[in-house]
Symmetry: C2
Subunit: 325 residues, 2 copies
C-alpha cells in the first residue's frame, strides 16, 4: 500500500475514439493512463481483466455505459470522474455498494447549452439552416421563393425547468423582446417571470417552449400530444434537456401534420438514433447532443477532471461530487 | 384634375412574383393596383406605355431596379413608396429632377435584422447548419466525429456601425457574456462600449466583427485582406449590412486558406450571385438577403406603405420620407 501510493495512479479512460481532448492533460500530469478504446476490437472484458488490479480511477467521457459488471472487474477502483453533467450512464447502485466516489462536470457546460438553445430557436424560426441549404443549392434568384421566418420580438417563451441553464436562456432572450414565463415544480423566489404550475397551461399561454429540465419519472414525456396540440400550429419547441422529455413518435406526427410549427432538437429519445422522418423536414433543426461541446468547455472540463484526480489522490476536497443517496 | 382626384388613385406595384404580401392590403383599401410582374413576358416598356398616364404612385418591393427610364415613362408619377430600408435601386436624380417623393420602410426591419445577426453568429461558431447537415445525413454515431464549435462567453465582438441595428445587436449579445466594442465615424455619446476610430484596430482587438453599417464610398470594401489578416485565423465575420462592405474575392481566399475562421453572410456583392466556392465550405452560413424578411415585418411594412399612400393622396404628413438633397 505504501509502495503503490508512490507509483503514479493508474487511470482508465473510457471514451469514444474521437474524444481525445483530455489525453494531453493526463500526460502532462503524473498519471499512467490506459484507454479502453484502443482495444475496442478485442473484448472490453479481456482488456479490463488484464489491467484490472491496477486501475484506481476511471475517467468517463462521451457517456459510454459503465455498468455494474464494468465496475466489479476493477477491484481497486476508488473514483469515477465524469466529464459530463449527466452521470446516469454509470451504475450508481454498484458505486454506492462499493464506496466508489463519482464526480461530474458541475455547471461547466451551462453557458454553452444556453447559447445553443437560443441559437436553435433563432435557427428554427428564422429558418437559418433551411435558407443555408437553399443558397448552397444554387437556387437563389430574384424570385424570393424561399420560405419566410417569424419574428422573435414580443413572442411568448415558456421555459420548462428554470434551473441554472433555464435561467441563462431566459436572461439571453430578454433583450430580443421575448416575454418569458416558466414551469417548474415550485415557483422560484426573486424571479421576474410568470410561473405556471403545469406544462399544459404554460403551452396554452406561450408561442414557444424551451425544455431545460432534467429527465425524471415525473418529466418523462412531459411534452405529449396534448401539450403539442395545446401549443398549437404556430408553436415551436426547443429541447436541450433530454430526448425522453418529448414523446418523440407523437412529435414526428405533429410536425408532419402541422399540429406544431417546428422544433430544434439537441437531444433524442434513443441517441444516436434520430427518426428518419425528421431528415426531410424544413421546419426542424437537428444537433447531435452537442450543446455543451465547445473547444473551450472541453478544455475547462479536462482541467476540472485533472484537478479532481489530483485532489483525490492527495486526500484533498473534490469539486462536483455526486451525492449517492 | 378635379375629376381625376375623385377616382381611386392608380398604384403600380413593381415586385417579384412571389412577394405578394402587400396585394391584399391594397385591395382592402381604395386603390386601383396594377402589377408589372403579370406582364413580365411582354416587355416592361410596353406595359408602362399602355398604363403610363394613369399611374400616380409606384410601390417598390424586392428592390427591383427603378431606373430613370422607368420613371420618365410615368408622366403622372408623384410618389415611390419603397417597402425596403434601402432605396438605392431607385434613380434618385430623376426623382429629384421630377419632384417625385420617395418613402422607405424606416426602421421596420431593425429588430429582425439584429436577431438574424445574432442567429448567424451562433450558427457559425456553434456550427448549427453544419451539424444539422451531419445529423440529416444519417452519419451520427457514438464516434463523436463532428467538428467542435467555439464558446460565445467572454468573446470580444467588434461592431462596425453602431446605428440603430448595431445597437440592437450589441444589446442582444451582452447577456451572452460578449465584450462589445465598435467602430463608427465618430464616438457615440452615452454608449458603454469601447470606441475604435478605424476598423484595423477594431479587428486587431476583437474575435468577431459584425458589419452593421451602410454602404458608401467610404465603407466600400472596408473589410479587405489586411483587415481579415489582422482579425486572424480564429476570426469570424457576420455581414448583415451590404455585400460591398467586404472584398468578396479576397474573403473567399481567406476562408479557403484559413486566414479567418468563418463567416455568416446575409448579403453579397453581386446578389443573387454567390461565389460557388462558398457552397462547399463548412465554416460558412449563407442567407439570401432575408434578414428583415419575417411574416410580421412584411405585414407591418405593408401597413406603413398603405398609410403613406393614403396620407399622400389626402395631403397628410408622410412617414419615412427620403431626403433627396
Amino acid at each position: 500500500m505504501e509502495e503503490s501510493s508512490l507509483l503514479p495512479p493508474v487511470v482508465l479512460v473510457h471514451r469514444p475514439p474521437a474524444l481525445d481532448f483530455i489525453d494531453e492533460h493526463l500526460s502532462r500530469h503524473s498519471f499512467t493512463a490506459l484507454y479502453t478504446h484502443t482495444s475496442l476490437e478485442d473484448s472490453l472484458q479481456d482488456f479490463l481483466s488484464s489491467h484490472a488490479a491496477s486501475v484506481r480511477a476511471v475517467v468517463s467521457l462521451g457517456r459510454l455505459p459503465i455498468p455494474a459488471e464494468f465496475i466489479s472487474n476493477l477491484p481497486s477502483l476508488e473514483i469515477v470522474v465524469c466529464a459530463s453533467v449527466g452521470f446516469d450512464h454509470v451504475d450508481l447502485d454498484e458505486c454506492r455498494r462499493r464506496g466508489v466516489v463519482i464526480t461530474n462536470a458541475g455547471d461547466a457546460y451551462g453557458e454553452d447549452v444556453a447559447d445553443l438553445a437560443v441559437g436553435l430557436l433563432i435557427s428554427v424560426i428564422r429558418r437559418i439552416a433551411a435558407v443555408d441549404r437553399y443558397v448552397r443549392s444554387g437556387q437563389w434568384t430574384r424570385l424570393w421563393d424561399y420560405p419566410l421566418g417569424f419574428k422573435l420580438n414580443r413572442k411568448k417563451v415558456g421555459i420548462v425547468g428554470l434551473g441554472s441553464i433555464g435561467s441563462l436562456v431566459a436572461k439571453r432572450l430578454e433583450p430580443f423582446g421575448c416575454i418569458i414565463s416558466y414551469n417548474s415544480r415550485n415557483p422560484k423566489p426573486d424571479v421576474p417571470y410568470a410561473y405556471y404550475s403545469n406544462i399544459l397551461s404554460l403551452a396554452a399561454d406561450n408561442d414557444f417552449l424551451i425544455l431545460c429540465c432534467s429527465l425524471t419519472d415525473e418529466t418523462h414525456h412531459i411534452v405529449n400530444r396534448e401539450v403539442m396540440e395545446t401549443l398549437g400550429k404556430n408553436g415551436v419547441i426547443i429541447n436541450i434537456g433530454r430526448g425522453g422529455l418529448i414523446d418523440e413518435k407523437e412529435m414526428v406526427k405533429c410536425l408532419v401534420n402541422g399540429v406544431i410549427w417546428g422544433v430544434g432538437l439537441d437531444v433524442f429519445e434513443n441517441e444516436p438514433e434520430v427518426p428518419e422522418e425528421l431528415f426531410g423536414l424544413e421546419n426542424v433543426v437537428l444537433s447531435p447532443h452537442a450543446a455543451g461541446m465547445t473547444a473551450e468547455s472541453l478544455n475547462n472540463i479536462s482541467e476540472v477532471a485533472i484537478a479532481n484526480l489530483k485532489a483525490f489522490f492527495a486526500d484533498q476536497p473534490l469539486m462536483f461530487t455526486v451525492q449517492l443517496d
